[in-house]
Amino acid sequence: MVQYSPEADDIELLRRAGDGDSAAFHALVDRHAQRLYRLAVSLIGNAADAEDVVQETFIGAFRGLRSFQGRASVKTWLTRILVMRAGQWRRDRRRRRFEPMGDSIAAAGPNAEAGLDVQAAIGRLSPEHREVLLLREFERMSYEEIAEALGIPRGTVESRLYRARSELREKLKAYLP
């Protein structure tokens, strides 16, 4: 099996995967799995289901390889699939309550308590606000990328992000000046 270097371009890997190179697709999985898993756990609040959603994301990406048009980056494309799958998961299970994440969480050090409060506060945001906040704060995505990933206009990203922050600030006021 061909081994791809970390420097190999995402688009190139995707193109090769589309040509039937399974090693290229596995390289993409290695590259994006942790990032997508973290996002999935934060969106869903449940580690086991988050793993399923990440699996469905990559399977969906594999089946839709030819639909990738290169308008957005591979990262944004995968994120969009994940957000859609997470939304589907929410609709299917009707399980909107944020659940503790168990032992898949890395130890957070001295700020562990604050971190858990932040995590719980993020979990209590509405799904729309949670999505936009996580993509900005965790993924460091630009407004354009967030708009592409969520399929909403840039102006909506701006206003949703502002409202998400206001809501979060209200929930975390004990930690803020």
């Binding site: 399974s22 973290r38 399977i59 890395a106 130890a107 957070a108 704060e137 600030r169």
Partner: protein, 149 residues
């Protein structure tokens, strides 16, 4: 300038604002303690969000993910083979049916209706009155010779 809106300040904090507006807000922040405090709250909150524990996919989870992707690839291949099989079967059925029809048609062309025996009188319908069989030709010839009498 007037105080920027909270949305503008949020976009300023994210570096998502055009350069001219960015310079205006930056100048304003030096003179407006309220907006400066608001910006500081946004920065503190971003730092706070970073303290949220990061979930990590375990090596076993990653292995499961690769295995599931492999299954999906194999399923895709199987589906492709199944489609090819279906197409091949359809072509085979269509080909057999066509061959059967063609064979019957060829048999029909090769063994036409038997010709009428010479003693059967056949009168042509053609306006020219041309004989279509030897018997008819003989009759017409006889008829015309009788007419000559």
């Amino acid at each position: 300038m007037n105080c920027p809106t909270s949305e503008q300040l949020s976009a300023f904090h994210d570096g998502e604002i055009d350069e001219i507006r960015w310079l205006e807000i930056e100048r304003h922040l030096r003179q407006c303690p309220l907006c400066a405090a608001e910006l500081e709250r946004l920065r503190t909150m971003s730092r706070l969000v970073e303290t949220a524990p990061a979930a990590r996919l375990s090596p076993i989870g990653l292995h499961r993910l690769h295995r599931r992707v492999n299954q999906a690839m194999e399923e895709g291949l199987l589906r492709f083979v199944r489609v090819l099989n279906t197409i091949a079967a359809c072509l085979l059925i269509a080909g057999s049916a066509w061959l059967m029809v063609k064979t019957r048609a060829d048999q029909t062309v090769e063994s036409p209706m038997p010709a009428a025996p010479p003693w059967v009188d056949v009168v042509s319908d053609s306006p020219s009155g041309a004989a279509s069989t030897p018997a008819a030709a003989w009759y017409l010839a006889e008829d015309s010779s009788r007419g000559d009498d």
